[in-house]
């Protein structure tokens, strides 16, 4: 079986001494002008902690050595080269577009959690209508706050996505940031943290552009 890590551009050399899922050595394959990084696995991949971390590790190593990387989603193994080549062929133009989008960029994740007890109940017995009105006002304030956090970061990004997220998350988002804006992005996160000390803001990254890898799909 063949496990795909991603599509790369301008990879000088395979990361030395890095093995893939099941400790398989990495291989380069070229299909329709696209370079794929794969390894052989014994069986179809089980979703284990070790396999997931191996996949992530390989993608990060590729990221450090390539002009652009389009990370593959974990979860599909190909029976042989023919199946892999056929799958890539049907997606070649989307993959090329995806590579163009992510080139020169790093991905950052942001989660903002509001402090505990954000919605304090007013003392006494509020009427149903008052309760609904209060909740509505709170929800609007949350949305405004989320937008205040998201907007300045999105402005520094080539692309950005907001997720629904768990209810405690005020904002869950991902940003595709050109390398030359990464320092400014970091400054902006620190400014937001200082300006909103009551919130827990967690910025993660730099990540390989997993979130934006499929963005080449369906776009002209």
């Amino acid at each position: 079986m063949i496990h795909l890590y991603g599509v790369v551009e301008e990879l000088a050399e395979l990361p030395p001494a890095v093995v893939g899922v099941d400790e398989g050595p990495l291989e380069r394959h070229r299909v329709e002008g696209l370079e794929l990084i794969v390894s052989r696995t014994v069986e179809r991949n089980d979703v284990t902690q070790a396999a997931v971390l191996s996949h992530a590790n390989v993608v990060e190593e590729l990221m450090a050595r390539s002009g652009a990387v389009l990370p593959a989603r974990f979860g599909h193994t190909f029976t042989d080269e023919q199946e892999l080549a056929a799958a890539v062929k049907t997606k070649a133009s989307e993959l090329a577009r995806g590579l163009k989008l992510v080139r020169g960029c790093l991905e950052f994740g942001l989660r903002a959690l509001s402090g505990d007890g954000a919605s304090q109940n007013t003392p006494g017995e509020p009427s149903g209508r008052d309760y609904m009105r209060t909740r509505l006002a709170e929800e609007k304030a949350r949305q405004r706050l989320a937008e205040e956090l998201h907007e300045p970061l999105a402005r520094l990004s080539r692309a950005s996505t907001r997720f629904g997220g768990a209810s405690r998350d005020l904002l869950q988002a991902a940003y595709l940031v050109p390398r030359r804006y990464v320092a400014a992005f970091g400054d902006e996160v620190r400014r937001l943290e200082a300006a909103h000390a009551d919130l827990t803001i967690v910025c993660t990254g730099p990540w390989p552009p997993y979130t934006f890898a499929a963005n080449g799909e369906g776009e002209a």
């Binding site: 001494a17 992530a56 990370p71 593959a72 989603r73 890539v88 890898a213």
Partner: protein
């Protein structure tokens, strides 16, 4: 929230973001993803166990870079 609680939370969020990216994002080259929902649930169950012990995460990451990485 204390500093160490903050740190623990940041570790947890980072791990969650990692697993979310590897399993739910990234490009799907083939038409189908053979992961069943049950598999994913299992990973998340495993993840929750893992989340309770940040030390475990550190260990497994170190182990992976030890088997893999060059300098």
């Amino acid at each position: 929230m204390s500093m160490s609680e903050q740190q623990t939370l940041k570790h947890q969020v980072t791990l969650l973001e990692l697993v979310d990216r590897v399993l739910n994002r990234g490009v799907v080259v083939s038409g189908d993803i053979t992961l069943s929902v049950a598999d994913v649930d299992l990973v998340y169950v495993g993840l929750r166990v893992l989340l309770s012990s940040v030390a475990t995460l550190e260990e497994s990451r170190e182990r992976i870079s030890a088997t893999g990485a060059g300098p």
